[in-house]
Symmetry: C2
Subunit: 260 residues, 2 copies
Amino acid sequence: MAKKENIVLVGAGNLATHLGIALKRSGHQIIQVYSPGGKTARLLAKTLGAESTGEIKKIRKDATLYIIAVKDDAIETVSGELHLKDQVVVHTSGSVKMNVLKKSSKNIGVLYPLQTFSKSQKTDFKNVPLCLESNSEAAAGLLAKVAGSISGHIQAVSSEQRRALHLSAVFACNFSNHMYRIAELILSSEKMSFDLLKPLIMETAEKVQNASPSVMQTGPAARGDLKTIKAHLKLLKHDKKLRSIYQLLSASIIETDKKL
Amino acid sequence: MAKKENIVLVGAGNLATHLGIALKRSGHQIIQVYSPGGKTARLLAKTLGAESTGEIKKIRKDATLYIIAVKDDAIETVSGELHLKDQVVVHTSGSVKMNVLKKSSKNIGVLYPLQTFSKSQKTDFKNVPLCLESNSEAAAGLLAKVAGSISGHIQAVSSEQRRALHLSAVFACNFSNHMYRIAELILSSEKMSFDLLKPLIMETAEKVQNASPSVMQTGPAARGDLKTIKAHLKLLKHDKKLRSIYQLLSASIIETDKKL
């Protein structure tokens, strides 16, 4: 086991909780958790055997790594209050520039976990790709060591790559889940359970684990079955918005196939 | 084990192959496989220990169940050539009316498997929901028995329900896969591997196995993060079509949340 680090968690939400637990399990010491007001920090600190604070000015200066896991809009403000020297400060966002941290310390970076986290579900960090960015060798080294201690998939990315990753994750995760939601709505309108679709959803996700989704595309649009597409659009005639989603995505599937 | 049936497979594509193998495993006898010309039928028949034919007029009359697994457009024509009395004839399509089979026999029905099948991937039928429709008690009884021998999830559905199921499957499976594809394109434009997204895709599918997707929605649109949405639209400025997909789906997520 590599040297364990003393870490401060700035933030006590979903991601901070999952990260804190994984870091502690890997032998690191979470020395302090901060949340505005301190209430959620107190709860998480208890789990992690850490101190907690609700005042940003009371954040300790003696950690080697500060992980800022707060809302995107709050990252710059919060980091501006840290006033550190060369301790490594990172945020965890897919879309916020690394440089918003520049007032906080000489060594800054990003630790962006490419996964979706929810309170109710445990996450095994071993399989979560951790995308790393940093402004110095010192930050890069520490980040790689700490990230590598909790996940088997660490990858250095540029700012442009991180932005593209985040955008692609919106399609692969958020928009897919929205497709599931629409499917659930359609089924409930005919008094059927979403359970019926669960095996299909799993299979669709499993199929792209070993092959490119471009090879795995099936359905009316993929086979140019205009008759079925028409029938589906007719079924959706009372819901203009769903209708335009169906239309746009079917056209996009046909278009993408042409390009291949 | 219930009585085994003598079955003719009309069609020898992906679904016929998967079904034939599952039926044989459950102890049924596939007595014949038909395909136009007979070439693919011969291959599948060999696997199943069945006869094969390429001539529709040579389809045997002594089976108890005829499963038509051909392209949607061909179902009516093919079934019109069968000229049976009361043997049960079913098709396997999500979107074709049961009644197109009415010339083939007195007893007709539909056996619609809610799953996506590919040549390269084995499918465990035990977990595939089989949606059944029929025009008579005789057909209903035989279908339930045969379908129940290969899957643990059989469900009687009306024509309207089957249509809604098929439409919902297009969203949950075909459109989700298209989202994966778009994500892959975005990553490749920044020279990154689709592998990075695989854990996220699995997690997204797994999360809705135990909870409604409406509870599991995350991402910029779900949290009303207009700044990130704007930044993403800017990233997509050179691809008008992707841009409109992003815009439409984000608006739909915001809209759906409002209705809850």
